[in-house]
């Protein structure tokens, strides 16, 4: 079984997993309105790290938060990170893309390459393996975990360190603005009045290993799948084709009654949330509570799949189904169970669901103590 041995989240809310979970449980959010930031002509709402707190001139902000997040996860273990039996997998969509801006002169241009950025990280830790970078749009964080599961199943590595990261910049924000995908206010996942998404900075790390036996309190990554809509490069399928297919495989023969909640992508764009409601119903999961964490963190892109998995594990540990901040009235056509209030649960499994540009979708089943 593939088991989570440590994790960490660096976000605008906090720099440990436990404090992040406590903040989310208390309903806190770092979403704020920015007007004139980075010379952008239109204001936007986002969850941003305080750039002044990261002062290491040797590394870009992306590299710094990855290094800090992995360090904090490693502190919880006694893993020899310099061993060739440890693999690094980085999940990111845009990495150091800000370096393409002609006004940026602080770092060599080659660091814009994702593999070169990842090499800064493995070099920092003294790990000898070539790092793998998963860049699969917004589903990268779940894909990276599926990659980790496969590398561990194949027996080649003892530990895989998965770190998801994205740092917002004029490049990303202007692009989403051009798509008219950003909400002028704090996002409202699955709500009737949702107007789009908010973007967010974060880095999040999970370290996985393979074990023959697990105890009741250990988190197991049971199975995951990636499926394509084969429909459109920038809009989700109207029938939830890829999402439904990924969900079906993640669910497998597990009874829906065993699942505490589906932690959906829930970006609060009109089309994403509608599509997910269709896919969830098609997969026979309409009775399972659904939540979205975008109202707390915004859409953290390459970090989202990792960060949201960590928050969801802690919620199940705490017997809690987190409320979806920003949600008021159901605004999708298929009747899924969304609430803005925290609810209690005694169940021990959840599904992490994501969708992204390129028509890609991913689902991952996590179970505490494994599937009995």
């Amino acid at each position: 079984m593939i088991v989570c041995v440590a994790h960490n989240i660096i976000s605008p809310l906090s720099s440990t997993s436990a404090e992040n979970y406590a903040a989310v449980k208390a309903g806190m959010s770092a979403l704020k309105k920015y007007d004139g930031l980075w010379g952008l002509p239109e204001p936007f709402v986002a969850s941003l790290l305080d750039r002044n707190k990261f002062t290491n001139e040797k590394y870009t902000l992306d590299e710094q938060v990855v290094i800090i997040s992995i360090s904090k996860a490693l502190e919880q273990t006694n893993i020899n990170v310099q061993s060739s039996k440890v693999l690094f997998i980085i999940s990111t969509t845009k990495g150091n893309v800000f370096l393409l801006d002609k006004r940026e002169t602080g770092f060599p241009q080659e660091r814009v390459r994702l593999g070169m950025m990842a090499r800064q990280v493995t070099k920092h830790f003294g790990n000898p393996n070539e790092p793998i970078v998963v860049s699969n749009a917004c589903i990268s964080g779940v894909c990276a975990q599926i990659e980790a599961m496969r590398y561990l199943e194949s027996g080649e590595y003892d530990y895989v360190i998965v770190c998801g990261v994205d740092i917002q910049s004029a490049f990303i924000v202007s692009g989403f603005q051009s798509f008219k995908a950003l909400s002028p206010d704090e996002c409202k996942p699955f709500d009737a009045n949702r107007q789009g998404l908010n973007l967010g900075d974060a880095a999040a790390t999970i370290i996985y290993t393979k074990k023959d036996k697990v105890n009741d309190n250990e988190w197991v990554a049971c199975r995951g799948a990636i499926r394509n809509d084969a429909n459109h490069i920038s809009g989700p399928s109207r029938t939830g084709e890829g999402s439904f297919r990924a969900l079906r495989i993640a669910l497998g023969d597990l009874e829906p009654e065993k699942i505490a909640f589906i932690n959906a992508h829930g970006t609060a764009t009109l089309y994403n949330d509608e599509m997910e409601s269709i896919a969830i119903e098609r997969a026979g999961l309409a009775g399972v509570p659904v939540n979205s964490l975008k109202g707390y963190y915004g859409h953290t892109m390459g970090a989202a799949g990792v960060l949201e998995t960590i928050i969801s594990m802690q919620a199940v540990d705490d017997h809690n189904i987190l409320g979806s901040r920003g949600f008021e009235t159901l605004g999708v056509t298929h009747p899924i169970d969304v609430s803005n209030q925290n609810r209690t649960t005694e169940k021990r499994a959840f599904i992490k669901l994501l969708s992204g540009f390129g028509g890609c979708n991913a689902a991952l089943l996590m179970a505490k103590g494994g599937l009995l």
């Binding site: 490049f171 202007s174 490069i233 920038s234 890609c360």
Partner: protein, 184 residues
């Protein structure tokens, strides 16, 4: 097991090791290959260089395989690798926002600033509902690629993969080494 393979560089095209004749070079080569070997998919002209390259390479691969029924299927994955991610599209998009005096970001340019869009283009063309993924490594390494593709057969439905290297740094510099791989 590798069933077929295609190689494309700005000066050379090989299908299963045999050179394919052509007159053009660089970006014009991709257009020539489209006109001579595909021709019925005008969406090609909207694509960025990475997507054009991956699309052409996959078409040459599938033409050699034969039986192009275009029936929807979920047992074939598309898993691509490269060094430069979406650098050509990124550089182009950056040029539309660089100067505050001519700030003109467009969704058509932004959407290609993700390397996995090419995997979506191939899936749409062929109605592949299977796994699609994009992985960046800083140097071409066939061992890493083959190991990763082998791992991908752990998916319960995947029985074949269009997989391999599809890289471009700008419109005139690119390289593809694409394989059609069956479960080993």
């Amino acid at each position: 097991m590798i069933k077929h393979q295609v190689f494309i560089s700005p000066n050379e095209v090989k299908v299963d090791g045999k050179a394919l004749t052509h007159n053009e070079k660089g970006s014009a080569l991709l257009t020539e290959l489209y006109r001579n070997h595909i021709g019925d998919y005008p969406k090609f002209f909207k694509m960025d260089t990475l997507s054009k390259l991956g699309f052409i390479a996959s078409e040459l691969l599938l033409n050699i395989e034969g039986d192009r029924s275009f029936e929807p299927r979920e047992d074939r994955a598309v898993i691509l690798f490269n060094r430069n991610a979406s650098l050509q599209a990124d550089t182009h998009y950056q040029s539309t926002i660089q100067d505050p005096g001519s700030f003109f970001p467009s969704p058509a340019a932004f959407v290609y600033t993700l390397p996995n869009i090419v995997t979506g283009e191939i899936s749409i063309r062929n109605k592949y509902f299977g796994e699609t993924s994009f992985i960046v490594i800083d140097d071409y390494d066939e061992q890493i690629i083959m190991k990763n593709l082998k791992n991908a057969f752990q998916d319960p439905m995947t029985t074949s993969i269009i997989g391999g290297w599809v890289d471009c740094s700008d419109e005139e510099h690119f390289e593809a080494t694409l394989f059609l791989v069956y479960k080993f």
